[in-house]
Amino acid sequence: MDELKRVLLVDDDPDFIDINRIILEAVNYQVDEAHSVPEALQKLNDFRYDVLVLDLMMEDRDSGFILAYAVRSDERLRHIPILMLTSAEEKTGFSFQFSQDQEWMKVDDFAAKPLKPAELVARIEKLLERNASQ
């Protein structure tokens, strides 16, 4: 039997961690959670993850980017696909057009919160497939 795919959920909102955990566990992912950037970096250092789902806005409005940048700058981590979630377009003033922002945002996919369960699963699967074919 294949080993379970391991996902790290990074969000400072416990509800979204819980909701996404239930969704992903229902389709057989192993789910870990982190509530802050340092906690996430610690977990990334300690375990091997297949995909990273992170919230753009945690304690500071750009923590999501900082974490994504840190992951991309790390030789051992840069291959991990990142799905960035956000509910905060109006607050940051950033535009979230994937094609334009991908280069400097260093993430693989963007989605607005809340994401329907099937959509979350589909997006993660797509990221994993893409990674596997590379």
């Binding site: 509800d15 819980d18 909701i19 229902a26 509910s87 109006e90 809340p114 369960p117």
Partner: protein
């Protein structure tokens, strides 16, 4: 000739026959006539009653006619003097006329001659009076006009709005102190100079220039807003000044400093977006939880489903709390008229609130106690608001205190201030957080605090209530040791 009252005439002559003759003739023409038999008597009568005309004989004992003429001239130049003379020589006549006599009558004269000369003299007097009246009226009008002008200028100079007027070629002809201040310009230098390059703001200059060009019969006002070099926002409205023919005479521009309005607008929209975010998060969470059940991701596990439903219910409760706090806050905002402030003692309110929260404290095995005298000096306050304030502070203290902790409420009077403290042995706050806790939607970042529900509005509401009561609220706190909130209100002086 239209005089309301009959003309009054004095005849001064030492010849009785002349006096009586003249009197009869003139009285027939509806005049009031008096007589004097010599110069001195005549002069005395003139000083006692108002005469329109005096007929003066030149040769009289006691006081001669020329002498009387002299006095009359000095006394009242409106009395018309006519000389009667028995020595009708050109010299005497010329002499009398030079001395100010209006006319002369050589003796003997006919009644017609008398009537003609008297009437002409009276007519002259009437014209003189009319001219004088008109002159007075004109002087009075001029004075009023000057007053009116200075009144208008005073109004313009006292206006909070800036006012600038230009003439047709676009030169400044008027600029009030408010405009001078708003544009940081020297008024004396500005008046008379062209608009171009003067304001350091091309948009305003363009607006004024455009207003001169686009003159139509229906006056058009153009509005715009612009930023000054020192970051203030001015609203300007310019309209052409148009004459009856529809030609532009110049422009008039009103400037209003809207910097503060813009700030309030910005704060309002910031607040709305903040509130929207705070409302959206729990609603999105509820939707997320419901999706789990709808999509069957709970695997039909009833315990799991129940847990999810409870979590959703808690989120909905949180939303309700938030909305109530928002309503409270908008109520705290409504200052003045609708808020009744009465002298009151805070001790009964504190007692009531502490009593109310005893059960909540007991449930967490927290000791909640009040230390205060039975009564304290009154403060001027609104009891609903103060109850809300104390409830927020005490419930916060209980919320952030771990089991078996302690919450102490105390009140006393110190230096004409009523001082209330709420002190807990709770989780405390970091120095960094202390500065922000009275702001809207701020919640301290603390691993322990994450599990505690709250709207982030409670202390913001407290701050508003305290400020409404001209009081102060401060906080001391140490992480993991506890926090103490101090509130002070000025003591209300009865007289």
């Amino acid at each position: 000739m239209t005089t309301a009252s009959p003309s009054r005439i004095l005849i001064v002559d030492d010849e009785e026959i002349i006096r009586i003759g003249c009197q009869r003739i003139l009285e027939d023409s509806n005049m009031v006539v008096d007589q004097a038999e010599n110069g001195r008597a005549g002069w005395e009568m003139i000083q006692k009653a108002p005469y329109d005309m005096v007929l003066l004989d030149l040769m009289m004992p006691e006081m001669g006619g020329l002498e009387v003429l002299d006095e009359v001239q000095k006394y009242d130049h409106r009395i018309i003097p006519i000389i009667i003379t028995g020595f009708a020589t050109i010299e005497t006549a010329v002499d009398a006329m030079r001395k100010g006599a209006y006319d002369y009558l050589p003796k003997p004269f006919s009644p017609d001659e008398l009537r003609t000369k008297v009437n002409r003299g009276l007519e002259k007097r009437w014209l003189m009076m009319q001219a004088e009246q008109l002159r007075e009226e004109r002087d009075r009008n001029l004075l009023e006009l000057t007053n009116e002008k200075s009144r208008t200028m005073t109004l313009i100079n006292c206006m909070r709005e800036g006012l600038i007027a230009t003439n047709r070629p676009g030169h400044i002809v008027l600029m009030n102190p408010a405009a001078q201040h708003m544009l940081r310009l020297n008024r004396e230098k500005a008046i008379g100079s062209g608009v171009s390059g003067l304001f350091g703001n091309a948009e305003l200059e363009k607006q004024i220039a455009a207003s001169l060009e686009t003159v139509t019969r229906t006056t058009t006002v153009t509005h715009m807003e612009f930023k000054t070099s020192d970051e203030r926002v001015l609203h300007s409205s310019t309209s052409p000044i148009v004459d009856d023919q529809g030609d532009a005479l110049g422009t008039v521009t009103i400037l209003i400093d809207v910097t503060e309005d813009k700030k309030v607008e910005q704060m309002k929209s910031d607040f709305v977006s903040l509130v929207s975010h705070e409302l959206k998060s729990p609603v999105a969470a509820i939707a997320g939880y419901l999706n789990l059940i709808i999509d069957g991701l709970t695997g039909g596990n009833p315990d799991k489903e129940r847990e999810i439903i409870v979590r959703s219910r808690d989120k909905a409760d949180g939303l309700l709390m938030l909305i109530n706090d928002l309503l409270d806050m908008s109520r705290a905002e409504r200052r003045g008229a609708s808020k009744v402030m009465t002298p009151l003692d805070v001790v009964p309110l504190l007692k009531e609130t502490v009593q109310f929260y005893q059960n909540e404290a007991k449930a967490k095995s927290i000791t909640l106690m009040l230390t205060a005298a039975e009564t304290l000096a009154d403060i001027l306050g609104n009891s609903d608001d103060l109850s809300r304030l104390f409830a927020n502070l005490i419930s916060n203290a209980i919320k952030y205190t771990l089991e078996n902790g302690k919450v102490e409420v105390s009140a006393c009077v110190r230096e004409s201030q009523v001082e209330i403290s709420v002190s807990d042995t709770g989780i405390g706050m970091s120095r960094e957080d202390l500065g922000k806790i009275f702001g809207e939607f701020f919640r301290a970042k603390n691993a322990l605090a994450r599990k505690i529900t709250g709207t982030g509005l409670g202390l913001a509401i407290c701050r508003r209530i305290v400020e409404d009561h001209h009081g102060h609220i401060t906080v001391q706190s140490e992480l993991d040791k506890g926090s103490t909130f101090h509130v002070t209100f000025p003591v209300h002086k009865n007289n």
